[in-house]
């Protein structure tokens, strides 16, 4: 009889019970996505890797606060964002990546518009952290302002205002 693929919920319970195998499966499923997210906020590979490492090392303890509210992936992504933001703010890596040292871009979609992703990355690097974080969480991660507020500890209204200011500045920089 074919084995059913365990759900994230089952894996979470197994991790809570100490299963390293279950932790490995969660890593296999979600680490790549978490790394991409962390990279956007941390700004460099090394910090992004450390974020993923720390998240999974601390996962078993952290799961006591999970309570199966919402999807595991969304919950883990929030943690990754916060870890990455904390790292960036602490300045763990002195040589933050600038666009000229960034890894080669992946192939862009043919539907890329008049805003060039490389130019956008450069412009984002010039934004204050508070505006860049909200922009990335909203536009790159697709989170709602309520969710952004929960991650950053700000009101949804403040999130909306910062997004507007971020876009205003980016528009000026990119035209």
């Amino acid at each position: 009889m074919p084995q059913q693929r365990p759900s994230d919920g089952q894996l979470v319970r197994d991790v809570q019970n100490g299963s390293m195998a279950a932790l490995g499966v969660l890593y296999e499923r979600h680490a790549a996505m978490l790394f991409r997210t962390a990279y956007r906020f941390a700004g460099n590979r090394e910090d992004a890797e450390e974020v993923v490492q720390d998240l999974f090392v601390g996962l078993r303890d952290a799961l006591s606060g999970y309570g199966e509210r919402g999807r595991f992936e969304a919950w883990a992504r929030r943690i990754a964002v916060r870890l990455a933001i904390d790292r960036r703010r602490r300045g763990t890596r002195r040589d933050r990546a600038r666009p000229s040292t960034a890894p080669p871009l992946e192939a862009r979609s043919d539907q890329s518009d008049s805003v060039d992703a490389v130019a956008l990355a450069a412009a984002l690097a010039e934004l204050p952290d508070s505006l860049r974080e909200v922009f990335l969480l909203r536009e790159a991660e697709g989170l709602s302002h309520d969710e952004i507020g929960e991650i950053l500890g700000i009101r949804p209204g403040t999130s909306m205002v910062r997004l507007t200011r971020a876009k205003k500045k980016l528009r000026r920089m990119l035209t």
Partner: protein, 742 residues
């Protein structure tokens, strides 16, 4: 000249977060504006490009091996999991009883219905002795303004607080304390004795029929008990800070400071002070505040832990204080900065003291309830069993216990549990029957119980007597407020009857709701209910009346026509005209002209330019809003204030957001943090604006008419829509009148 929507409006449109009104307006504008269409396209392109940003390449293949080694090596990493609760706008609401909250809600409904006039504020009330002992005899001397000077006698009505009224399960009572007779010199005098258990009273003077009230221009008068040395008692100051906090943030904050100065070992006093201070402290200074709070906790811990006898409630309060410092986090294990209630920590120490006391005081049981929630969130059945035992053991029904049990009940997925705790919520606070009724309606299998609960709520409002009338509200205004609230409840009740298939009962209830005073939410409920009954004609008529609300756009009328099919143009126009008459009458009941108290209203901009708002407003309508960085209510309402400014600018009506003299950088930071960075702010450097409007609290809003009279005043939060309605209705009416006179 073409007026383009602001960047913020365009951005929200592009982001699809604009509300219906904005979306409709911007869409209309875009139909004929190439420039703004290009801006929308560019904003959306930004979003698409964000999805294509570099992602860092691939993870190393040995990533998990490294994780395994770290975990098996015993390494621990604490990762941030707590969901942040952004600062709330409600001010010191955590310690309000629900009854007090309900009273504040009624106050916010009725207080603008009858503003009173300035002559009333020229009155004085003196109470002797000024520093009474508990149960003292008081002589009252009242000098009336024009409002009450024609009365033979007046009554002194008071909101009386006793020790513990700020805590769950109890609340203040309002009643007449004395009758004051007018003497030949025109002065009213009387005597009364303070109730033995009264520690604080807020007072107003009224005509004997309750139709005219002098609330000292909204400030009320006060008295509170002192000890033999002339110092205010602890209970008096505590109740005073709670009472004041509901009507003037800054005064409430000041009394909280006074409380901890006079009673430095008061745990509850310090907790209340920090609630005020947290709200007002900008994020850049939050660390310093947290350090002060920690230092104070350490001192209180040392003081109280050294005493042999510590009341269980104090132990519970100390635990709550520590828990607040820990950001609400709990974790098993050794005590540390990352594990604030671990073994050996002060938090664990007070937890054990509170829980071992065996006290059934609800404040002590609240500690157990919090642990129950956190420990049993994964096993809600067990958590609910514990919650049940706490409920039975508690001295008084407790809102916090109920809220936590509600979370567990919802987590359990058992509607019977949800319903049980909803019933208990009403038992603890009867005025929660409306919210509970609505929730029961939405709970499968409990719709009939929801209907019964809403019927109970409607009946409660119908029989509400004068003892619940807020100070400063006339009987007429209070009755109107009750009828409005009842109308809202009836629309929910009608939905409930419809859900149960009882169209006859729904129709009867909607007929009753139709008699309520004008209220947009009632009209919406009425229109939707009639539509569900199949009475399209009546529904259209009601929607038509609603379309006359100046806050509704053309898009509303379009959406009604789209939804309901072809609408007879004549019938629609007649309905809109009826609605217009109703909303004008509603606005007229809220407005009463009075004169400013100063000839000029000079303000200073951030760039140090001085302006006279009065001169600028001459010949047209204008709005002045007062707010303060020292007022938590003002801060919470800043996004709404910004919306008001935008809306008025859109309408060509001048608006000034006036604040106290302050550091412009601090103001800018507050605006940024509270979501209103673009608010145009001016400063009342000379105090003329405060004097001119006789303003004593924030936030407050004033509509100035073309002749320079104040036409409308609102204090407190939640009045932005009313301000806009008043401006629209009065300016439309007076523009129409001036057109007719040409």
């Amino acid at each position: 000249m073409i007026r383009h929507p602001s960047f913020a409006r365009l951005e929200r449109f592009a982001d699809r977060t604009a509300d219906d009104r904005d979306r409709s307006r911007v869409a209309q504008h875009l139909a004929s504006c190439e420039r703004c269409r290009r801006e929308i396209a560019a904003l959306r392109a930004l979003g698409r490009a964000a999805g294509e940003l570099p992602t860092g390449g691939e993870l190393p293949t040995d990533g998990f091996d490294r994780i395994r080694r770290r975990v098996e090596g015993g390494e621990r990493v604490i990762v941030p999991t707590a969901v942040f609760e952004p600062p709330r706008a409600q001010g010191p609401r955590r310690w309000r009883t629900v009854a007090a909250t309900a009273m504040a809600l009624v106050l916010s409904v009725v207080v603008v219905s009858r503003m009173g006039n300035l002559e009333a504020s020229d009155s004085t009330l003196e109470l002797s002795p000024e520093r009474p002992l508990a149960g003292a005899e008081i002589e009252a001397t009242y000098r009336a303004g024009i409002l009450l000077s024609g009365e033979e006698r007046v009554v002194l009505r008071a909101r009386l607080r006793k020790e513990g009224d700020a805590e769950p399960g109890t609340g203040p009572e309002t009643r007449v304390l004395a009758t004051l007779e007018r003497a030949d010199d025109g002065i009213y005098r009387g005597r009364f004795r303070l109730p033995d258990d009264m520690v604080y009273a807020a007072l107003a003077v009224e005509a004997t029929d309750g139709q005219r009230t002098d609330a000292n221009d909204g400030r009320l008068w006060e008295t509170w008990v002192h000890d033999a040395s002339g110092r205010p008692t602890y209970a008096a100051l505590l109740e005073r800070t709670v009472d004041l906090g509901e009507r003037n943030w800054e005064l409430g904050h000041g009394v909280a400071r006074e409380l901890v100065t006079a009673y430095p070992d008061s745990v509850l006093g310090w907790r209340r002070l920090w609630l005020y201070e947290r709200q007002l402290t900008p994020s850049s200074e939050r660390d310093a505040l947290e350090r002060r709070m920690q230092e104070e906790f350490d001192r209180l811990h040392a003081t109280w832990s050294g005493r042999e006898e510590v009341p269980p409630v104090i132990a519970a309060e100390l635990w709550q204080y520590a828990w607040g410092l820990a950001g609400g986090r709990l974790q098993a294990g050794e005590g540390s900065a990352d594990n604030p209630d671990g073994e050996g920590s002060p938090m664990a120490w007070w937890r054990d003291r509170a829980l071992r006391s065996g006290s059934t005081d609800s404040r002590v049981l609240a500690v157990r309830s919090i642990y129950n929630l956190i420990e049993n969130l994964g096993d809600p059945a067990r958590g609910l069993a514990v919650a049940d035992s706490l409920w039975r053991a508690a001295d008084a029904p407790d809102g916090q216990l109920i809220r936590e049990a509600d979370i567990l009940a919802r987590r359990s997925g058992d509607p019977a549990q949800v319903a049980k705790w909803l019933r208990r919520a009403v038992e603890a606070e009867p005025s929660d029957d409306v919210a509970v009724g609505r929730r029961l309606l939405a709970l499968e299998g409990y719709e009939a119980e929801g209907v019964a609960m809403l019927e109970q709520a409607a009946a409660r409002l119908a029989r509400a007597d004068d003892t619940a009338r807020p100070l400063g509200a006339s009987r007429e205004a209070y009755r109107e407020g009750l009828e409005t609230r009842q109308g809202v409840v009836l629309t929910h009740l009608a939905r409930g009857h419809l859900a149960l298939g009882d169209t006859g009962a729904a129709r009867a209830v909607l007929n009753d709701a139709a008699r309520a005073p004008w209220d947009a939410s009632i009209l919406v409920g009425l229109a939707e209910g009639l539509l569900q009954l199949g009475d399209t004609a009546a529904s259209i008529e009601t929607f038509g009346r609603l379309a006359a609300d100046p806050l509704r756009t053309e898009a509303f009328a379009d959406s009604v026509r789209t939804r309901l099919g072809p609408v007879d143009a004549g019938a629609w126009s007649a309905a809109v005209e009826r609605g217009r008459i109703e909303v004008v009458a509603h606005v007229e009941r809220m407005t009463e002209p009075w004169a400013l108290r100063s000839r000029t209203l000079t303000v200073t901009s951030a760039g140090s330019q001085r302006r006279d708002l009065r001169a600028e407003a001459e010949g047209r309508f204008a709005v002045v809003s007062l707010w303060s960085r020292s007022c938590g209510y003002s801060l919470g309402e800043l996004p709404e204030l910004r919306r008001l400014q935008e809306e008025l600018t859109w309408r060509g009506i001048p608006h000034a957001a006036v604040t106290d003299p302050d550091d412009p950088r601090a103001i800018e930071q507050a605006l940024e943090e509270w979501g209103a960075p673009d608010l145009d702010v001016v400063y009342d450097v000379d105090g003329e604006v405060g004097l001119g409007f006789n303003a004593w609290t924030t936030p407050s809003h004033y509509v100035l008419g073309p002749s320079g009279l104040v036409r409308y005043r609102a204090r407190g939060t939640g009045h932005i829509d009313d301000v806009l309605r008043v401006v629209e209705v009065l300016s439309a009416r007076e523009d129409g009148a001036s057109d007719q006179n040409r």
